[in-house]
Each structure stands twice: as C-alpha cells, then as structure tokens.
C-alpha cells in the first residue's frame, strides 16, 4: 500500500498530450449518453417548476411562504447562504490552492469553478425573490437618481450585494480566462462552422504563442490574488448579516471564520458529489483519481473540524456569557421544536467528516459520495438552524412562533437545484470539464509525498 502510493502519479495512464486532448474533448463531440438526457430532462423540469413558483411568489406576495411576523427569513435565506457556501470551493481551489502550488488542483479546478458560478447564481436568486417588492430590487444598488436617495452603507445587505457581485465577477473572469487556451484547442478541433465561430469568438483569437501564454499566466496569477481575499470576504460578509444584528444566536463575533470554514466545507462536499458522478459518467477516472478525492477529503476533515470547534465554542460562550437570552437561544436549538434540525446538523457536520481520518474510508469513492451528500444536508441544516431557531424565539416570548415552509418554498429550492444541475450538465457538454492545458503541464508529475 505504502509502496503503491509512492509510485502513484497525479494522472493515470502515462498519457500523451494528444490523448489528453482527446479524452477531455470526447464528451463534447459525441452524442451525449442516456444518462445525460435523463439528467437534463429532470433538472430542467425542476427548474421550470421552480420558475413557476418564483413567478407566483413575485405576483402573489411573500405570503405564499411560511415566514411570518417573527420569522422574517426562512428557507429563502437558508438556501441563499447554503448556495453561497457551496460557491466557495471553486475559487478556493483555483486561487488559494494555486497560490499554495497544489498541483492536484488542475484536474478539478475547472468544474469546481463552474460549480461556483452556478451556485452563486442560484444563491443570488434568493435575496431577489425574498424581497417583498422584488421588481424594485435595483433600489439596493447605489445608482445616481433624481430622488437623491442613496443606499444605506451601514447595512450588511448592501455589503452582501457588493461582496457577492464582486465574487461572481471575479469567479466568472477567472473561470473564463483559465478556459481561453482550452477554447482555442476546441476551436481547432470542432468541425461545424457554427461551433467554430462560437468557440473562435470565445477563445479571443488564442494562438498559443509564447506572448499569449505569458499574458495568460500573469492574468491568472493576478486574478488568483484578487480572488483569494474574496473567498474569505464573501462568507464573512454574508455572516455579517447575522453577526451585526441584535438577535441572540445571530449576534456572534465568531461568525466570519466559522462561516468561511463552513462554506469551504460545504463547497468541497458539493465538488465531491459532482465530480464523483462526472468522473464516472464522462470516463475521467484517469484524470480525477482517488488521490484527488482523498485530497479533498482531507480539506473536508480540516474545515469540518473547524466548524465543529466553532459549534462548541458558540455553546461555551453562550454558557460563559451568563446572558440569559444567549443561553436560551442555544438551549432552544438543542432542545426546542427544531432540535431535530440541530442534531442532524451536529451529526452531519461534526461527526461524519471525522470518519475520514480512516484512510480506507477517505479513499472509498462510494463512501465519499455518501458523506458528501450528508455534509451538504448538514450544512443546509446549519443555516436553517442559525436563521430560524434564532428568530422564532427571540426576546419577547409573546411573539414567538413556529415557522414551517410551504410547498412553494420547497419547490423554489428544488427549482434552484434544477437550475444548478441544468447549467452544470450544459457545462459538461459544451466546455472542457478538466483544464486541458493545465493538466498537460502536470501529466508527468509523480506523487512523492
């Protein structure tokens, strides 16, 4: 076993450049399989139903949801934070791992970045939808207007807008810039005139000249260093929505690091979920190897442990503060009407990643897949627990209520899952899932550690 590891290479099969291009290009040229068609039918159907529910919400009002006079945010903001969290892995992989010279990232960064962008797009839908007057969402942007009204720069929601738009922009650019050499390759490979024109336009006249490569590298590094603080800032700022409030259970200084760790945790889980399926269906097992899965699992252990420590710290501080409201908020989480959500969260996020300390388990694809789903559920529960349990029983017991989502809210969430998977399936069909040019540079890399 030990010996085996020493001789393992980053990508398997001693591939030549030509082979790599062929392998990665394959899913884009051939007729997609039955699975792909089934997948896209299901996901676009879900997206469509979700879209109907969204239109209904905008038309009929937020009253269609289960939120009420006490719990103003329910599934919508839970989903928002969850999706933003998922959108953390891609940029983390591309930027931070790039800066840390982690070569294994090259196999997974492209799809992880795509996932990031789609997740952030889904996330962005919820703040828009949860507005009472969604059609006036542009009031939140600081644009010059005749009424001389400006946004409130004190509000974390305004910070959110900036943080998320900046993150989306940089992620999109990063993803796209990284894809340009590959788009050039594809342009040269495709036969149809239309495709040639489109890929030609998208590749910005890439010729592969040394100058192009040099500029590409410089820009990539620049964007990576831009994106790095963003990875940390986005979820910190999202956590400010809660941390700067006065609600017990929200008003917590630990939130920024806790949210960032949680975001990367959930992001990697989602990357696992997607890539385990992708590598199987697109026959990319040589490129996305057990080693990749294991590496990501290690990050999951790390971030999962940070999240676990954060949970315990929160509990300790609630007890140590002797603040009756704070203490109640946490006791209520663990024993109140939403205790099931709390304990699901605890089991999924604190206990399940610890299983990856066992080498056998973290190198087991099926097990990883299951745990990745479990973590996704756990992280969704975490957001739900933070948002709903803190709100539903805050300061004045007279206003305490119970929040239950309505069908519309559930359908909207499923709808965003549909949108996400639809976009991802389109991505695997029309763009290279693995960064061809980058993977070529590491094809002979041996794993010596």
């Amino acid at each position: 076993m030990q010996n085996n590891l020493h001789t393992e290479s980053l990508i398997k099969g001693e591939k030549q450049n030509q082979e790599i291009t062929e392998d990665i290009h394959k899913p884009m040229t051939g007729r997609p399989g039955k699975l792909w068609f089934m997948g896209i039918t299901l996901s676009s159907l879900a997206a469509l139903v979700g879209l109907i529910a969204m239109v209904l919400t905008i038309w009929q009002g937020i009253g269609l949801w289960g939120v009420n006079k006490t719990v103003g945010w329910g599934w919508s903001i839970t989903n928002f934070v969850w999706w933003v969290g998922i959108g953390h892995a891609g940029t983390f992989i591309s930027a931070i791992l790039l800066l840390f010279r982690q070569k294994w990232r090259t196999s997974i960064n492209r799809s992880a970045e795509a996932m990031t962008i789609f997740a952030v797009m889904c996330a962005g839908l919820f703040p828009l939808l949860h507005l009472g007057r969604a059609l006036l969402f542009f009031f939140i942007l600081p644009y010059p207007n005749t009424r001389d009204v400006w946004v409130n720069f004190n509000s974390p929601l305004v910070w959110d807008v900036f943080a998320i738009l900046a993150y989306l922009t940089v992620s999109l650019l990063f993803w796209y810039i990284g894809m340009i050499p590959d788009l050039g390759t594809i342009r040269d490979k495709v036969k149809s005139r239309i495709k040639k024109t489109i890929y030609g336009l998208l590749s910005f006249g890439w010729t592969g000249s040394a100058k192009h490569w040099q500029r590409h590298e410089v820009l990539s590094i620049m964007l990576a260093s831009l994106a790095t603080p963003l990875v940390l800032s986005v979820h910190s700022i999202v956590s400010f929505d809660f941390a700067t409030s006065v609600i017990p259970g929200w008003h917590t200084t630990i939130f920024p690091p806790y949210f960032v760790a949680g975001a990367i945790f959930s992001g990697f889980a989602m990357v696992q979920t997607l890539l385990i399926v992708t590598r199987k269906t697109l026959h990319l097992k040589d490129y996305i190897t057990i080693y990749h899965i294991e590496s990501m699992n290690k990050i999951i252990i790390l971030t999962g442990s940070i999240v676990g420590v954060a949970y315990l710290t929160e509990l300790f501080v609630a007890w140590y503060s002797t603040n009756e409201f704070e203490l109640f908020a946490f006791v209520n989480r663990a024993t109140g009407p939403y205790a099931a959500a709390y304990w699901t969260m605890m089991i999924c996020n604190v206990i399940s990643p610890q299983l990856f300390w066992f080498k056998k388990l973290r190198r087991n694809v099926i097990f990883t897949f299951i745990i990745s789903i479990v973590i996704n559920i756990g992280m969704w529960m975490e957001r739900f627990v933070i948002i709903v349990t803190s709100l539903h029983r805050d300061y004045l017991p007279s206003s305490w209520t119970i929040y239950n989502p309505t069908l519309i809210e559930v359908v909207i969430f499923i709808g965003t899952l549909g949108i996400f998977f639809t976009l991802f399936l389109l991505f695997v069909r029309f763009f290279p899932v693995v960064a061809i040019s980058e993977i070529k540079s590491v094809k002979n890399e041996k794993l010596d550690k």
Partner: protein, 988 residues
C-alpha cells in the same frame, strides 16, 4: 457669470436661458420640440408626426380607470377639504353607551374619539365604539325598503303599514313593538305616543345579554326596578363575583375610568383600591384583580348566602370555607371598610342579586359606592315579558310585530319556538340597520339609519343626557326608525325637531346656565352632553331584609359535581351584533388571544381528564360542536363559551363564524342566566385550528413586564433591577454619544398599572392608520397586522395564574436596530426622534423586522389593500377594499402596498396636524394639541404621549416617575417608549 439679486430674477434668467425673450412668441410647437425642425422640414415633420401618433395611440389604447373628483359647486360653510370637523355625538348600540366625538373628513365620518366632556365615559372609548365606523360603511346593511325581500318604495311600504295599523284587531289580537333597550327619552316618548295612538300596540324591550334579574332584585329589595349607579372609584375594596365590569358588564368604559383612577399609586398611595375577583372563567376583569379566586358558577349563590349570614350573624352554617373562600377573612376585611366597598355580581339570577344587595346594604355601601337615586337606564330588557310574548305568539294572540334594532331569532335560547310563533304572526315588520336573522323572516324590512346618520338623544343615567348627531347623510335609501314611526302615526315631523321639542319641554327647565333655549340647545349639541346639576338627594330606601333572609334560608349547599357551562360576552364581538365587523373579528380576545372564532375554554385539569388539547373539537350535550382552548385559570369543571358567534344571516364576514351558544342559556326565576349545570361533553376526534395571535404564554422569567407590591412601592418606589442602574437609561453604557434632539423629542409612557388590556387602543390604531384586515387564514400564519398589540403572560399556578400584560408598539428607539440594517434607508430616524418608514422606498427585505427585538414591525405579505401595482393578487377576505368600506380610510395616512413593512408611526399625521394647528393659530405647541390614536381611545388613561424636551409636558413629568423602565433596556436601543411597572395591592 450670471449674478442674481433675488429668486425672481434668478428664475427669469433661467427662463431666458432656454428661450430668448424676443423669440418666444415666434416658436411653433414643433420648433420647441426640435430646434432643427424649421430647417429640414419634411423629414423631421414625419419623424415627429410618427412619434406623436404612435404615442397618442399607445396612451389611448391603455385605458385607465377614470376617477371623478367633483368639486363643490357651492362649498358648505363648515367643510374645508382636507380638514376634519369633530361633532359631539353618542355611541349606543342597545347594549353599551359611550359619549363620542365623530371625526368627519370631507363629509364622511372616519373616526370615533372619546368625548372628554362626558362625566360618564370621560373621554374613554372601547373597541366596539371605535369600530362602529366600519358598521356605517357596511355593505351588509339593508339598503332599501323591502316587501317580501323585493325592493319597494317607501310610499308603498308606508301605505301597507298604515293600513295594518289602522285595522284595529277585531279578535282582540295585539300588536307588539319589540326593541332592544331604548335609552332615548324622545324615542320613548314617541313610542308611548305611538301606543296611545294605536291602542292595541304595546312595547317590549329585549336584551341579548339580559340584566332583568338585577332589576327584579332591586324591585324585591328596595321596591325600585332599577339598576343603580356604581362608583368603582370611591370603593376601597372591590369584590366582583364574575362581573366583567372592565370588559363587558353594564358600562365598561365608565367603570374602567373609575377603576383605574383609584389605582394610580402616586395619587392614592396606601389607599389604592383592593380588588378581589371571584369567578369561574378568567375574565379581563379577573386578570386585573389583586386577588382572584376560582369557584363554580353553581357555588356562587351558596357562597353569597353564607357571606350575608356571616355579615349579619357573624357565623356561617357549617364550615368557614366555602368553595375555597375563607368567609370570615374576607368579611372581616369588608367590615373594616364599612361604606367603602363595592360588591357586584355578573349573574342575572335575581336571588343572587338580592344577596348582593343585602351584602352591600349591610356594609353600608348604599349612598357611597352605590347610588339608587341616579339609576342607570341601560339594560331595560324584560325577560319575562319576552317569554310571555313567545307564548302569546304561539297562541296566536299577536297579529303584528315590529322589530326595532333587535335580533331575537338569533339570540333567544328558545329561538325555534320563537320562529314557530313568528309564523303565526300575520304582519312582521323589521326596523333594522344590518342584515340579521330576525329581519330575514319579516315581510317588511324598513331599514333604519346607522347611528352616525341619525339624530338621537340618550339618557344613560337619570341625571345625564347626551345627543347624537349625524356625521353624514344616509348612504343608502334608509329612513330613521323614529321617522318611520312618526310617519305611520301620520306625522311628517323631522325627528331632530321632535328631539328639540322634547328637550325644550322637559330638559331646558333642568338647566340653570341659559335663559334662552336656543343657547341651551346649541351648547348641549356642541358638548354632546347635558348633565343635571344638583340632583335632589334622596335617602337610600331601606332593604327588605326578609327577602334576603328567605333566600339565605332557602339556599342549600350545592352538591352536584357535573360539568358546568358558563356563557359570557367577549370584548370584541359583543352580543353578536358586530359579527360582521372584520376589525372586531380580527381583534384578539384579551385573554385567550384567539380571534375570528369562539371556542370553549377548558381548564388544564379537565383537558387532561378528557385528553383534550387546544384545537380538539368537542360536543356539548351531544349537540353543538365546538373547538376547545385549554385556558389557565379556568375553573376545573366549568367550560366557558362566548356568545356572539354562529350567525346564520349576516354579511360576508360574520356569517358562519364560530358557534351560537345562546340556545344553551338557562332560566332562573324567569330570567335568563348564563350558566347551565350538568352538561355533557364528548371529544369528537376532529381537529380545528384556531387563529391565535400569541402562541407562547410564559415570560420565561425574563425581565419584561415588571410588577411590585404596594408595600414595596410605598417603601421605595423604584424597580431596582440591575439593568436600570448600569447606565442604559442615561445613555452612558455606550461608546457612542447619546443622540440629541434639539426641537421636539416625542415620547410615550405606558402605565402598566393602569392598562387593563381591553384592546381599545388596537382598534383605534387600526382605524387611524388604515391597517388592513387579513382574515382568519392569515392570522393562523401569524400574518396579522396590528401595530399595537397587548402581550399577555401567565405566571404561577396554572389553575389560577397571575396575568401580566403589556401593550407593545414600535418603541421608536433612538439607537434603533432596525434602522441601520435597512439596505435602502427606507426606515430612518427623524429629527424629532421618530423611527419613520418611507413606504415607497421599502423593498421588503424584512431585515428590520428580524432585527427588531420587540417584533413590532408588520409586513404586507399579500396585497391586502388593493394598492399593489400588479392585478389579480388581492387578498381581502373581509371585503374591506370595496368602495364603501374604503370610505372609512383615513386620508392622512398612506395605504400600504404589498411587500412593504409598516409599523407604528407615533401617529405622525396627528403630530403634523397638531403642529399645523398651533402654527395657524400663531402659538407654540401645547401638550394637548397632539394625542395619538391609542392614547385618545384608552379608557384607562394608561398611555401618555408628548414632547420629552418640554419639561412641562405630561410625558416629561411621568418620565421622572421612579416606576419607569424601558423594555429590554440592556440592549441599549434607547426606546422613546417607557413603561411604568405594575403595582399590585396584596392586602390580603
């Protein structure tokens, strides 16, 4: 550079910049649109032509609803558009009385305010008086005269009825006018003239919730069939046996004023009244008591008889303790306070009322806290006469019946019998305002004006008169009942003239201020009230002790252990008359917090016995199905159900809400009593979700509503909580400077000791601020919109808990958590310390509501008001957005659209109005210029509003009081609303 001297010159320059003065006359329309038009003519002409035509077509194609605003051709003298007029009037619905001011804006009444000049209600109102405005604009009113449900003209109906009345009954059959209690002296005179003119007509009065047993008791004891005048303010000790005198009993607004004035600890000190409530269901009054004891309804009579016995003989029959009440202990306390106590009972059993009379008499309360010489004219209904009428109708002795403002088909326990009898009555005439069960069975419906459309006079008490004047012309083709009666007598007098004549002949002589009737009349009309000065004091008649003695001897110890039914009247829907008023339907019950339904309150132990939970449906005596609500403080084996629900013929709102419990009323000595012994309940297994606005009833030992004992108060009147002293009050607890307000700084003080939790403020706020009605289904989702709510908490024993309450509205924090989280600055702080909402700017993130520790912000979850830009999404279960109910909207307050947050504004429109008034009168703002709607409506004077920067204002003075504290003050939100803690008198 253009220099300008003044603004006129500046404007001139601006104009001349655009169009040089010399050329202005010569510019054609097209040239003005396009400078080059003159040069290249055809091309530009066609461009403009095309643009013009297409835009004209576009705008013409999108048809917009045309709303006509027709100006006055000749403006009425009193009406200034945009300015409200106030007319003194009276509210009386056959049940409760209140002297009011009608606020009339542009010719339509939009608000009821209390009339300070009335010595009875002293400026207080209650929820039903407040909500009566919507009754005026109710689509479910009868809108035209009808014969057999078909519209006919008044002439036709008059002809028919005159013929009916002319035909003197050959076979000795009688004609009857059945009405609710009439306290109008002119109307009474009119009816007596009517009965004289048509000798076969008689007049019977009928009350849905009857007091005839009490009148009977006073007749037996003192030979006076009256209800005496009670003075709760003069009583040092108040003992109430199930009388909900702060909520619904007799004259709650008046009693609330009296009660609370005797309980302001700063004014009365150790003389604060002690209130003992002995009852079966937790009533509003009981929840305010210093001490509350729980007994079964069936135990009341025996308990009272033993009380009386102890007072007269210093001994009881067997044990000293009856139903858990230690008789000597209470009696000795009362004996120590001879002449200074007041004992009342809510029962209509004449024997119980005789015992009450006896006890009060022995304690020397007559002449002090009870006055038989200034009797109350409310509740004149005669149960025996009504029962007799039913019998006579069934025997075919009645050939004509006229219903005036009464609905016996709905509220009689023997309604079926009444209906069969009614079928035998040849001519049935209804003089009703709103659609009801009785009028529905009548051949003729002669719709009466609404109170706000008619002239009337009232005599709620012997020495107090008031006038009712209309605020609007009749909206529908209705006619005041009195005018109808006059017409049928062949007289064409205007009823106002009739009243005037009555006042000239009968009341003018009682006045000593004016020598001229015209002035007397004008003054009375202006004030709304006329009080007889120096009424001759007569001696209290002697009690007929033998009557009481016989009852004491005849009262045996109750032995039965069955379940008892207690039927009561709730604060909102009253006797059922207001079933169609959506504001009142949505008003949560002060105790159970349930709205839109009635339910059976069961005690926690009975619930355990029958395995019931709130929302389980039970049957009573195998008949009625009703959901239960587990109610702490309910007597263990008694269930309580309010009347007023289960209307079968009402408007869209009221029909079919809840269950009609009137059929289960019982009789005692011919009088309707509100208890029934030995009922049987069964769990059906069905579930029914009640709309409850408060789901959690415990304060969780948090420092929310503060209370102290009177002893503590007398010792040191400070609520010495830590939080109070660590600087949050003074603003020292922060790194930031305390915000300062240079001009006005508005603030409010709510005295929790005065607040009785009657909900009048909630309704007043609803009306003043155009707060939408959302309906039962929405309330179930916790979507109710009230800007001011009354939180109610239980503590202690579940079988007899202590009740704490607190009105909560926006606290207008100077360091508001809601303000800094709004991304679009839709909620900001004004320079006068008001937390204000810009509805147009709000995009509805609800972040402010999440971050509000008081949870006072309300969100428009749906389009409740028809103000949304999108169509087809209206959610208006109560039809309040139809044109007619919209007349009740306050034009000074924006109607909010779907998706925006709203909340208490401190009635900013009233603040502006007050400032404007002061300015136009060229004086500085006075403290009384501005009163918020909740403050104005409060019958307990619990709310004081004013300028905290003015050291002379009432609010500033109150703020110096040591009982003050801020809600959740440790959060350092610096609220502008202050609460004063409760003070309980724990004498016993």
């Amino acid at each position: 550079m253009n220099f300008w001297k003044n603004i006129t010159e500046f404007n001139k320059q601006q104009i001349s910049k655009k169009y040089p003065e010399s050329d202005r006359q010569n510019i054609s329309l097209i040239e003005m649109l396009d400078k080059t038009a003159g040069k290249s003519s055809r091309r530009n002409f066609l461009k403009l032509f095309g643009y013009g035509i297409s835009s004209a077509l576009l705008t013409a194609a999108c048809e917009r609803p045309v709303k006509k605003a027709i100006p006055y051709l000749i403006e009425p003298e009193e009406v200034t558009p945009g300015k409200a007029n106030y007319y003194a009037s009276s509210f009386f619905d056959g049940n409760q009385y209140c002297s009011i001011l009608l606020k009339v804006r542009d010719g339509r009444p939009i608000k009821v305010e209390g009339n300070d000049l009335s010595p009875i209600t002293r400026g207080g109102t209650n929820s039903i008086a407040q909500a009566s405005v919507l009754g005026l604009y109710d689509n479910a009113r009868y809108q035209f005269p009808m014969r057999n449900k078909k519209q006919v003209s008044w002439q036709a109906i008059d002809k028919d009825i005159t013929n009916i009345l002319k035909k003197s009954s050959s076979s000795g059959k009688r004609k009857v006018i059945l009405s609710s209690t009439i306290i109008s002296p002119s109307t009474k005179k009119l009816i007596s003239e009517f009965t004289q003119r048509f000798s076969d007509v008689e007049h019977i009065m009928y009350d849905d919730v009857s007091f005839s047993g009490m009148r009977e008791a006073n007749r037996l004891c003192f030979d006076r069939s009256v209800i005496p005048d009670y003075r709760f303010d003069k009583a040092g000790i108040i003992v109430s046996f199930g009388a909900d005198f702060l909520g619904t009993w007799l004259s709650p607004v008046e009693f609330t004023k009296q009660y609370t004035s005797g309980r302001v600890p700063e004014n009365v000190g150790e003389n604060m009244s002690f209130h003992l409530q002995i009852e079966s269901a937790l009533s509003l009054t009981g929840s305010n008591a210093d001490k509350r004891m729980v007994i079964k309804p069936s135990e009341e009579k025996y308990l009272l008889s033993q009380f009386y016995k102890y007072l007269t003989q210093r001994k009881t029959d067997s044990s000293e303790e009856v139903a858990g009440v230690n008789i000597p202990k209470v009696a000795e306390l009362l004996l120590k306070n001879q002449g200074n106590s007041l004992i009342v009972s809510g029962s209509n059993d004449p024997e119980i009322q005789c015992l009450i009379n006896g006890i009060n008499y022995e304690l020397g309360n007559y002449g002090n806290t009870i006055n038989l010489d200034n009797p109350v004219y409310l509740k004149q209904g005669d149960d025996k006469a009504v029962s007799g009428l039913v019998e006579r109708m069934n025997n075919g002795e009645i050939d004509t019946i006229m219903f005036y403002d009464t609905n016996p088909v709905y509220s009689l326990p023997n309604s079926d019998e009444f209906k069969t009898g009614l079928k035998k009555v040849k001519n049935r005439i209804a003089l009703s305002t709103e659609v009801n069960e009785t009028a529905d069975l009548c051949e003729y419906v002669c719709p009466d004006h609404h109170m706000m459309e008619s002239w009337n006079d009232y005599q709620p008490k012997e020495n107090h008169y008031s006038l009712g004047q209309p605020g609007i012309n009749n909206i529908f083709n209705t006619r005041q009942a009195q005018v109808s009666l006059l017409k049928w007598m062949g007289r064409n007098t205007d009823f106002m003239e009739y009243i005037k004549a009555y006042w000239r002949d009968n009341l003018f002589e009682k006045d000593d201020r004016f020598i001229d009737f015209r002035r007397f009349w004008n003054k009375s009309l202006q004030d709304g009230v006329f009080n007889v000065k120096n009424p001759g004091n007569k001696n209290t008649p002697a009690l007929d002790r033998s009557v009481v003695g016989t009852i004491v001897d005849g009262t045996a110890k109750p032995g039965q252990n069955g379940i008892e039914l207690h039927i009561y009247e709730n604060v909102a829907v009253s006797t059922g008359k207001y079933a169609n008023n959506p504001w009142l339907q949505e008003l949560p019950d002060p105790i159970s917090k349930v709205c839109w339904d009635n339910c059976a309150s069961v005690s926690p132990s009975l619930a355990e016995e029958y395995q019931l939970d709130t929302g389980d449906v039970i049957t009573i005596n195998d008949g009625l199905e009703i959901p239960v609500q587990v109610q702490p403080g309910q007597e263990k084996r008694t269930i309580s159900v309010p009347v007023g629900y289960g209307r079968t013929k009402s408007g869209k709102v009221g029909q079919g809400l809840g269950v009609n419990i009137y059929p289960l009323l019982d009789y005692s000595g011919g009088h309707r009593i509100h208890v029934r012994n030995n009922i049987e309940i069964k769990k059906t297994g069905k579930k029914y979700e009640l709309a409850d606005t408060q789901l959690h009833n415990s304060m969780e030992e948090r420092d929310i509503v503060r209370s102290m004992n009177l002893e503590e108060f007398l010792e040191l009147p400070v609520n010495d909580k830590e939080a109070h002293q660590d600087g949050h009050h003074s603003g020292e607890g922060s790194l930031y400077e305390k915000p300062e307000f240079k001009g006005h700084h508005w603030g409010m003080v709510v005295d929790l000791n005065s607040c009785i939790g009657c909900n009048a403020c909630t309704i007043a706020c609803n009306i003043e601020n155009n707060i939408p009605v959302v309906g039962r289904e929405e309330v179930k989702q916790a979507h109710e919109m009230h800007w001011i709510r009354i939180d109610r908490y239980y503590s202690g024993d579940r079988d007899n808990p202590e009740v704490l309450r607190q009105p909560v509205m926006c606290q207008h924090c100077d360091n508001a958590p809601c303000e800094n989280v709004c991304p679009v600055q839709a909620t900001t702080h004004s320079s006068e310390g008001i937390n204000q909402m810009a509805y147009n700017r709000c995009i509805g993130t609800r972040y402010c509501n999440n971050n509000c520790p008081y949870k006072v912000r309300r969100f428009n979850w749906h389009d409740y008001t028809k103000a949304d830009a999108m169509g087809g999404n209206l959610k208006d279960p109560a039809n309040t957005t139809l044109d007619l109910p919209r007349m009740a909207l306050n034009p000074d307050v924006t109607v909010r659209a779907k998706g925006v947050i709203e909340k208490c504004t401190f009635c900013v429109q009233r603040i502006q109005g007050g400032k404007m008034k002061a300015k136009s009168e060229g004086r500085s703002l006075q403290d009384d210029d501005i009163k918020t709607a909740c403050q104005q409506a409060c019958p307990a004077d619990a709310i004081v509003f004013g300028d905290m920067n003015d050291p002379e204002s009432k609010v500033s003075k109150k703020l110096k009081n040591k009982r003050n504290y801020h809600l959740l003050e440790h959060l350092h939100t610096l609220p502008s609303v202050t609460y004063m803690n409760e003070v309980n008198n724990k004498l016993v």
